[in-house]
Structure formats: C-alpha cells, structure tokens
Symmetry: C2
Subunit: 483 residues, 2 copies
C-alpha cells in the first residue's frame, strides 16, 4: 500500500451512519485534513431503524429521526454536498467524478476514499411494485409517504411530517390526499415486516403478512418464530406462511389486489414490501474493488478494500464474524457507526480495527421481544466446521411469585467437541431482547457452554429468577454435551 | 483426603437454598445414597429475596415464596428433619449431634457433611432492638409479623398470611391485633432497607431511612447512590444520611421513638433494622473448620472445607472472586443454589467446581433499577494489585426519539496497565439492572475495556440506542486509558 497523500482530502461517498461517523472522527482527530461527503439524496444522518415507529406514530416527526442536521455536520468542519452522486472512481488518479444537483460533472481528488453507499430495498421480482400504494421502507421519503397515506386527508399537511424541508413534497401531498387504506399486505416477515405489522395495526388496518418460507423472522430461528406467530395472530394479524406474493395489480395506477404463486388472491389497498436489502456495490465493482462471497465489499480488519486508499463501511461492506472469523454481510446500524468511526481514526493516522460482528439483532414484535446472536443455524454452523448441538428451554423472566413474570424462551447452540458457545436466540415479553447482550459478550470472550452455565448473572425477584433463563438453557445444553 | 464411606449418608445442616440444592442433586445423581437434611427452624426452601415484596403486598401469601414444600422434598427421596438443630460435629468420628423438637439428642453418622447454616441479620449494637415493633427482615416469620402489623386489625387473620401452617401464629396474631404503624424508621440503606422503603411506602407510611455512611447502597458506589437518593426523596422517603441510630425506646415494651448518635430523635411506631448480615459459623468454628478473612467458612474450588468430608456452601461460606481469584464473602441466592448443586454432584462422585462469583447484585429502588458487579471500589481494586481507572457516563436506554427512553448511568472500572475490565455499576429507569449481566459476562471472559468497547451489543430503538450506555462508558474509559 502506498503512503497516503495527506494534503488531499478524505472523500466519503454516502452521508449516513458509516460515512458521517468516519468524517466526524477524522475532523476531531486531524482537523487540518479536509473531509468531503457526497450524498446523492437530500437526507443525511437519519435513524433508519426508527422509520417503522414514525409510521406507527410513536415518533411524531421525521425531524426526530435526524441525528445530525446539515448545519451540525458543517459545524464539525465537514464539507457536506447533498444531491451529489458519485458516478465514477479512478483509483489510479485518486479522483472521483460527481454529478451535481444541476447535472454538472465535478472531478474531485482524494487522499483516502470511503465507500459508504449503503444498501437498497428489494421489491423485485414482484410485478406491479411500481403501483401507487406499494411501498418499501427504505429511507425517510418512503416513511413519509406511508404515513401521509395513512393520515386522514382532512387533517393531513406535509408540514406535520417534519423533516426540516427535505420531504419530497409532491409525493407526500399526493398520498396525503388519498383515501386512507383499510387493508394492507406486508410482504416479508423479517424485521421490517414485523415492525410494520405493529405500525399498521396501530392505525387499525386489517393487516395481512405474507412470508415465503414456513416461518417469520428466519434469522431468529423457529424457536423464536413459534412464539411470535401465535402472538401476531392474537394481535389480529393474518399470517400467510409459505406463501409467495407474485404480483400486485390495480386500476388507474393504484394497487387494489395481489396474487400469490399458490393461487391465493387478496384485495388490498396498500402493500409494504420488505423482502430484504442488497448492498449498493455497483460503483465499487466498477472500480475493481473485490467483493466477498456475500456480494458486499470485502474489507480487511481496518476496513480497507482491495484497492489502495479505498475503504468501505456500513451496509455495503462485509465484516469479520466473531465466531467463524470469516467475512459476513450483516448490515446493521451499530456496525456502520463503529466501522465508520474506526476508519476515520485510521485515516487520521491512528490505525484502528473496525471490530467484529456477532450478528446481534433484536426486534420488537408487538409485546414480544426477540433477540439472536452468532451461529444459530445448525447447517451454517456445520459449514463453518463445528459439530453443533442445541437446546431450547422456556423459563420465567422473574421469580415465579413476582408480578409480571413472563415466559422466556432461550435456544443455545454450542460445539460438541470444544464446548464453545456458537450462538443463541431469545424471545419473551419481559426484558428478553436485551438479554442477548449476555450471549454476544460470551461469544466475544469465546466462553464454553460450561462457563456460560457458571456465569454469575443478576438475581432479584423483579428482574430475574435465581437461575436466569440463559443459565437454565446453558445447564441443559451442557448436560447434553457432557453426557 | 480420605475416601468417603459411601454407605454412610450425606448429611446437610440447613434446609434452604444451598442445603436442599445439594441434597436434591445427590439424590438425582446417586439415588442409592441417603441424604438427611437437618433444619433447626420450621421453614425450608423459601425465597428470602421475595420477603420485601410479600410485605409490600405484591406477593399475596407466604406460600408463594416457598420453592419446595416438605412433601416435595420428601418426594425427592430426601430425609428432611425440621426443628432439628445440629449442636455439635465430630469430624473424627464423622458424626453430628442433633437436638430434636422435644429436646432429645440424636447422634447421626455421615459419609459427607455439608454446612449450609446461612447467615443471620444483625440488630446489634442498637439498644432496644428487642422492643415490639422493631424488626429485622430475615426469614419468613419476621416478614409475617411485619405484614400482620401493617394490616388492618379488623380484617387481619393469620390464615391470610398463607405459609402452609408454619407461621408462628402467636406472634403474628399479636401483631395483627395492634394498631398499624404510621411512621416507620428503616435503619440501613442496603438492599433490604431500599426494598423495604418501597414496601412501607406502598402501605402509605411516613418512611424515614437512616444510613450511617454518606450514601445509600454502599456496594453500588456513589454513581448509583447519587441517582437513588433524589429518587427516594421524590417518592416521599425522608433520608437521614450520615446518621447512626443508637437506641430505640418505648413504653410497655413497644417502640415509640429512636435516638441517633448525632442527637437526632424521632417518634416512630415501627422500625426495620437492615444493617447487614453475618455468616452463621459458630458450629463450624467449633469443629475446627478454617474460617476466611471475611469470617465466613473458607472453601476450595469444590466447596470442601479444611476438614475432611466437610463441605460448606451458601451464606455461611466464602467463594472465589472472578476478578481477584481470592475468596470473598458475598452471600446471595444464586451462589448458594449453584454451590449446593455442585457439591451434590461432587458428593455423588462427579467432582464439580462450585464456580466463582463476580459479586453481581441488582436491586429495585422504586422506579430505578440498580446493578453492580466486580471491583468497583478503587481502594479495593488497588489492594488487589490493580491500578484502577474509572469513568461514569449517562446515556439513553433507547433511541432518543423512542418513547420511554430513560437516562442510564454507567460507571466502569478498568486496570490502567492491562486494560482489563474490573467492574461496573449501572442505574436507570429502563432495563438498567439486567444490563449488568453483560459486564458479569465480560468479567468472566476477562475482556479488556477495548474489547468491551467493540462488543456487538443489541440495537433496536425500543431496547437500546445505537451505542448502548455500556459501549459509551467503555469508549470514554478506553479513551482515558489509551491517551
């Protein structure tokens, strides 16, 4: 790797978590270096994970979801250029080509470059996804449009959405004027689908959730799904499991029905497609940056790509996994913030690893809290060279006699040979999700299941029984492995 | 150590968590061996930590606090003898001398002996502690008496207390007939004092809490106390910090006032003394079992005392500390259950370590949740050979825009030289206490503060912000250590 030309700026492509964390950190550590952030859209630094709660109404305005305003960002000494799309990178010349808001082309040289282009929501291969009333939930504009659509036209104003003037007014106004939907189809039972089921139910819509596979929340495994599914049903959500939505149709450009591969048809007046996201890697791929097996950008422990002076972070990049050591693609908010910050520090001259991921994820499913971490899929664990064993238990979240005790299901996976904990999942109604942090920490410490069983975890009747559900699960799994 | 005579029974002194866990485990693993449990009182296997919530009324009856009934215990094949006090142990002959319910003396031989004699509440050196209306809260009878005293005499019945007929009826009936107190003094601001402040407030008493040192909850440190104290004040509890209660007085044998060393006097009609507990080691000490520096019984990693075939576990015994490796006395419920279970397994022929403790403790203080773990006192950390550095931060428990976000204060302590995490404390109103498990796990894994900073902890707006308060604290402390 050649030495960085520190008289040239640090250029960042993408103005969200990873990109702005990196630029902010660089400006704190090395204020003399220029940092330029190109963002192709108009929104920057927003809390993507909060959008379902904005749609639901728990979060009042889009402004609440903005971590930093453009002026906050400029106050940090960052040269932020919104509505600037980087369309080419020349690693030989160390320049990027940018299309400005009026279509003009700008050439910008860089000393170091960070690709933080994020990910995009899939709506393919469902035909008719372009119809009005069919949404993905990726970005604040789609959140604005869904909420506008749900609102009473007599009371709706674009201003009520907040957003400091960045909302796409024309589209939001158009949705705000429509008759609100009464029946909505959610396509995809992942995080977004589950969170949006809660959001739409709060607006008293008739909610139908379609999941192609046999269970919702696939990364959480069936132990979690088997509790979430009846709970969704209790909440009035109609589940269509093992059902693939093939097509939306409608007249006058507005959705009015859907059809599934198995022949199911349903009249709907809105649809939310949350069938996954894909890393935005086209620009990087054209720059000869190596992609990993996942399709996201491959990086080393400092976030460096295969091309000199080009880093990648956030939803477009892979990260090394705590358990397997292999690069994996798990696009989540903390990863993006942490990797961006580490790269800012590295670029400032203080090499800092981007860290590892454990694949920690938590989601609220109405009144249930779900968490997962590490390797929970037995086939995947075998592929990684382990001999996985698992156990699932259900135990109280508090002392049995204390009000509010809730059944908490814990599934743990360990390697039979070494006894090492490989992963786990949790579901329950009382402080279940946050308990996954115990397992994430155990994975980082490479604890064996026997060591997990002996953890001195908290006990007080309002918060945990004598044997925390995690300890109960570890005891049972350790018993199975030792026997 | 000489070989165990497995034709002789496993004898256990004390019928609570440690003793019954050991006997139960032995009977599961080696059903042919006899297990005899001598309990000097009439209560067995009860949830001590639940007593404040029984007094408060969150737990309806004493029966709810019983984990196992005497018949459950017998069903496990355990020979349970209530109201049998072991008054002497002869390790040479491997026998115990027991005083039965009618004063008769019984000699019982043992192959292995477990001393699980627990601890007792202190009320010394406060004079007048024997007056009616002055209580400690150690055991179900004191809980029964306090609740009887609080109850409306017109409605009170001994039966309403539950307890399967084991309540000391005469005393409970006497308290139940008294005019309920209006002003109560709690002496001692430890767990019991704080939990009982909540319990008495629920009965609408005027609650005064006296703490000899300058802050409540000393093991949790001032970062926690400084949030708990104003919260107690908001809840209407009058705090008397740095105030030592010296004397209770009263007429006709019933408390009506107290006097403090600093001259403060207060009219009270009830008092709860929670100034600490001491291990019950008299019997062991007479048996030439070695005590540790703490005054509790010293054990090895299998729970063996210095005397052949004599084990100790629970509130009367020390345990090795995860951070220092030294034996420490931290009497808590999980420790007792775990050590008892391990000893049962060892006695059954499968040697199992009793584990280590991290000093994990959590307590509910009205609407605040508090947790602590490891070495948090800097002087103690220095005594253990570390060069401790600490930082305290306050951050949100959830994303700032999500309803219910609560300020969460985290204090972390690490060793400057090695960077190793030594301990921490947490306080806040939203899922704060259970987060201590993350730190307990990090201590077990001997993680450095840098590794804690890089933990892949959970993030979802309803449960945690992008940077969990623990990560924020680790970042700040790591910054201080690295600089």
């Amino acid at each position: 790797m050649t030495a960085t030309n520190t008289t040239e700026p640090f250029v960042v492509i993408g103005g969200d978590a990873a990109g702005l964390s990196a630029a902010s950190k660089l400006k704190r550590e090395a204020p003399h270096r220029d940092a330029i952030v190109f963002e192709k859209g108009s929104w920057v630094s927003y809390a993507h994970c909060g959008t379902p709660y904005f749609v639901k109404g728990d979060v009042e305005t889009l402004t609440d979801l903005l971590s930093l305003s453009p002026s906050d960002i400029r106050d940090r000494g960052i040269d932020l250029r919104r509505n600037h799309e980087v369309i080419a990178v020349s690693p030989m010349e160390q320049t990027v080509t940018v299309r400005g808001p009026d279509g003009e082309k700008i050439h910008q040289s860089y000393g170091d470059l960070l690709v933080a282009t994020g990910a995009r929501a899939l709506s393919e291969p469902i035909s008719g996804s372009q119809l009005d009333g069919v949404f993905t939930l990726h970005g604040l504009d789609s959140a604005a449009n869904v909420r506008a659509f749900l609102s009473d036209p007599a009371e709706f104003t674009v201003e009520s959405l907040g957003g400091d003037g960045y909302v796409d007014e024309a589209t939001a106004t158009r949705y705000g004027a429509m008759t609100p939907p009464e029946t909505v189809a959610i396509v995809g039972g992942g995080y977004v689908g589950i969170e949006m089921a809660e959001a739409f139910s709060a607006w008293e819509l008739d909610v139908h959730l379609f999941q192609r596979s046999d269970h919702v929340l696939p990364p959480f495994g069936t132990a979690v799904a088997e509790r979430v599914e009846p709970h969704l049903d209790e909440q009035g959500v109609t589940l269509h499991l093992g059902t693939e939505v093939a097509e939306f149709s409608g007249e006058d450009g507005r959705v009015d029905s859907l059809a599934c591969s198995n022949g199911t048809e349903l009249a709907v007046d809105a649809a939310l497609v949350g069938i996954g996201i894909r890393p935005n890697v086209q620009l990087a791929a054209e720059t000869a940056v190596t992609l990993g097996d996942s399709g996201a950008i491959a990086i080393d422990e400092y976030g460096r790509t295969s091309v000199d002076h080009v880093y990648a972070a956030g939803d477009c990049a892979e990260m090394p996994h705590v358990v397997t050591g292999e690069n994996t693609w798990v696009p989540l908010g903390l990863t993006a913030n942490r990797a961006g910050r580490a790269i800012g520090q590295t670029v400032a001259g203080n090499p800092t690893p981007v860290g590892r991921i454990a694949g920690t994820a938590v989601v609220k499913a109405f009144d249930l809290e779900c968490g997962r971490v590490g390797l929970t899929n037995l086939d995947r664990a075998r592929d990684a060279g382990f001999d996985p064993v698992s156990e699932t238990i259900t135990a109280g979240s508090r002392s049995g006699y204390y009000p509010g005790v809730a059944e908490t299901t814990v599934r743990l996976v360990a390697d039979r040979k070494s006894g090492r904990l490989l992963g786990g999942s949790i579901v329950g109604g009382d402080r279940a999700a946050i308990r996954i942090d115990t397992l994430a920490t155990a994975l980082e410490g490479e604890l064996s299941i026997e060591e997990v069983e002996r953890l001195d975890l908290a006990y007080a009747p309002p918060f945990s029984p004598v044997w925390d559900p995690i300890l109960v699960a570890a005891k049972v799994l350790n018993g199975q492995i030792s026997s």
